[in-house]
């Protein structure tokens, strides 16, 4: 060991600041834009899946279909990944946590994104046209109204156009793919992996946190929702 070797466990404040500052600035900019309504929240991760945890997602005019999502692999080549795209025309989300692992220069970091509060009774996030691209998800899926299973994905509807008519193929499904159509859906206690999440119509501005954590950090297990929206 050389005399200049430093003891284990020392905090590298200057290096840490260099790493954290851009992420914090971006997070701050995002929060500001959301508050002013200048930016619709639209999360999209192309090259690596997101881990998701939420107490509940509830919505009307629920649809799902198997679609292909384009993505870029770490080696730069492109391809598609097949997912079950779930769409809610109008809805609420009861707390949301997303985490994504990053390998940067041989070091593992986790981007941790949380939206809303920790109260499973608050149903605090109101949305329009929420879309989840699910690779696998565990939870409790409840549906009501007229519920159809194995609908051709191109016939699934969720959102309406300005004239009040259902948008054709809003999930972008290729022909003859598995689909689900329901009047209402509530997906509780979800933990899983999503390739993509979009919330273009965030109607409320709940608490937003974006942090960079060293290591592989998972979202906390979601609390069961209390009551209904």
């Amino acid at each position: 060991m050389t005399p200049r070797a430093r003891p284990e466990g020392r905090t590298h404040w200057r290096r840490g600041a260099l790493v954290a500052l851009p992420a914090l600035l971006s997070a701050g900019g995002l929060a500001g834009a959301m508050t002013s309504g200048a930016l619709a929240l639209d999360l999209r991760i192309q090259d690596r899946p997101l881990r998701l945890a939420t107490s509940s997602v509830y919505g009307t005019q629920y649809g799902a279909a198997v679609v292909d999502v384009p993505h870029t692999r770490p080696d730069g080549t492109t391809g598609t990944v097949r997912v079950l795209r779930m769409g809610f025309a109008d809805g609420v989300i009861n707390g949301l946590c997303l985490s994504q692992q990053q390998e940067i220069m041989g070091t593992t970091y986790t981007l941790l994104f949380t939206l809303g509060d920790d109260d499973p009774a608050s149903w605090e996030i109101t949305t329009q046209n929420t879309v989840l691209d699910v690779r696998e998800a565990t939870g409790v899926l409840d549906m009501d109204g007229v519920v159809d299973l194995n609908v051709d994905g191109t016939d699934v509807t969720t959102v309406d156009d300005e004239a009040g008519n259902p948008v054709d193929n809003p999930l972008g499904a290729p022909e003859h793919r598995f689909g689900i159509q329901a009047g209402y859906a509530k997906f509780d206690g979800i933990t899983g992996t999503v390739q993509d999440i979009q919330i273009p119509g965030l109607l409320t501005t709940p608490r937003l946190d974006l942090s960079v954590r060293p290591g592989d950090v998972a979202c906390p297990a979601p609390a069961p929702p209390v009551g209904t929206p």
């Binding site: 292909d68 998800a137 194995n150 994905g153 972008g172």
Partner: protein, 212 residues
């Protein structure tokens, strides 16, 4: 010779800068504006639905239920249905009242390029009752290849049950070993509204899509 590397700021800075840049890119991609639907295909089939109120995907669902309960099951044979690719199939329509899952349901669709699995390991509901306790209707189009009821002896197969019970098969004592190759399922609740209990479709389990 190996040993601790000199702690030179000049070497740390590029690494830290690269880390910071990568994080900025990651955050930026996370907040990019919306995108067009992926791989959007042609919309709407040229053929109207036939036999089923919608056009089912041509790849049927393999449905298994280890144990179920229902108030009744009625059967209508020789029903002609149209699939989304335009092909027509003559199959059977099954109508359940108050269908609940008592143990393990698996719904699998194997299609070109993927497999979708909905797995409910314990209890659930595929029709059941609404939040007022009213029995709901579940209609399946396809072929139930096996279903067994114990009435003193074990009776299996839809035709065997029809022979024993007549046209309206009671399943209030339960049935087991349900296996079906089902093109379409519809459940109907005329008084719909999500409650925290007693939703007609209640699937506690896992949904998975895998490439194949």
């Amino acid at each position: 010779m190996t040993g601790a590397r000199p702690n030179r700021p000049g070497r740390r800075a590029p690494r830290a800068l690269a880390v910071a840049l990568a994080l900025v890119v990651a955050v930026a991609t996370a907040v990019l504006p919306g995108r067009e639907g992926a791989a959007a295909g042609p919309v709407a089939a040229e053929h109207p639905p036939l036999g089923v109120p919608f056009l089912p995907s041509p790849d049927p669902l393999e449905v298994s239920i280890d144990r179920l309960l229902a108030r009744s099951l009625s059967v209508r044979t020789g029903v002609r249905i149209r699939l989304s690719d335009g092909t027509e199939v003559t199959t059977t329509q099954y109508t359940f009242k108050k269908l609940t899952i008592r143990r393990h349901m698996n719904v699998t669709q194997r299609a070109d390029g993927h497999t979708v699995v909905i797995d409910v390991p314990e209890e659930g509901s595929l029709g059941g009752t609404d939040d007022q306790g009213n029995p709901q209707t579940t209609v399946m189009w396809g072929d139930i290849t096996n279903i067994c009821v114990r009435v003193l002896v074990r009776i299996c197969g839809v035709q065997g049950l029809l022979n024993f019970f007549g046209s309206l098969i009671p399943l209030t004592a339960g049935a087991e070993d349900f296996e079906g190759r089902i093109y379409a399922i519809r459940t109907i609740d005329e008084q719909a509204g999500i409650s925290d209990t007693d939703n007609p479709i209640h699937l506690p389990g896992t949904i998975t899509v895998t490439a194949s």
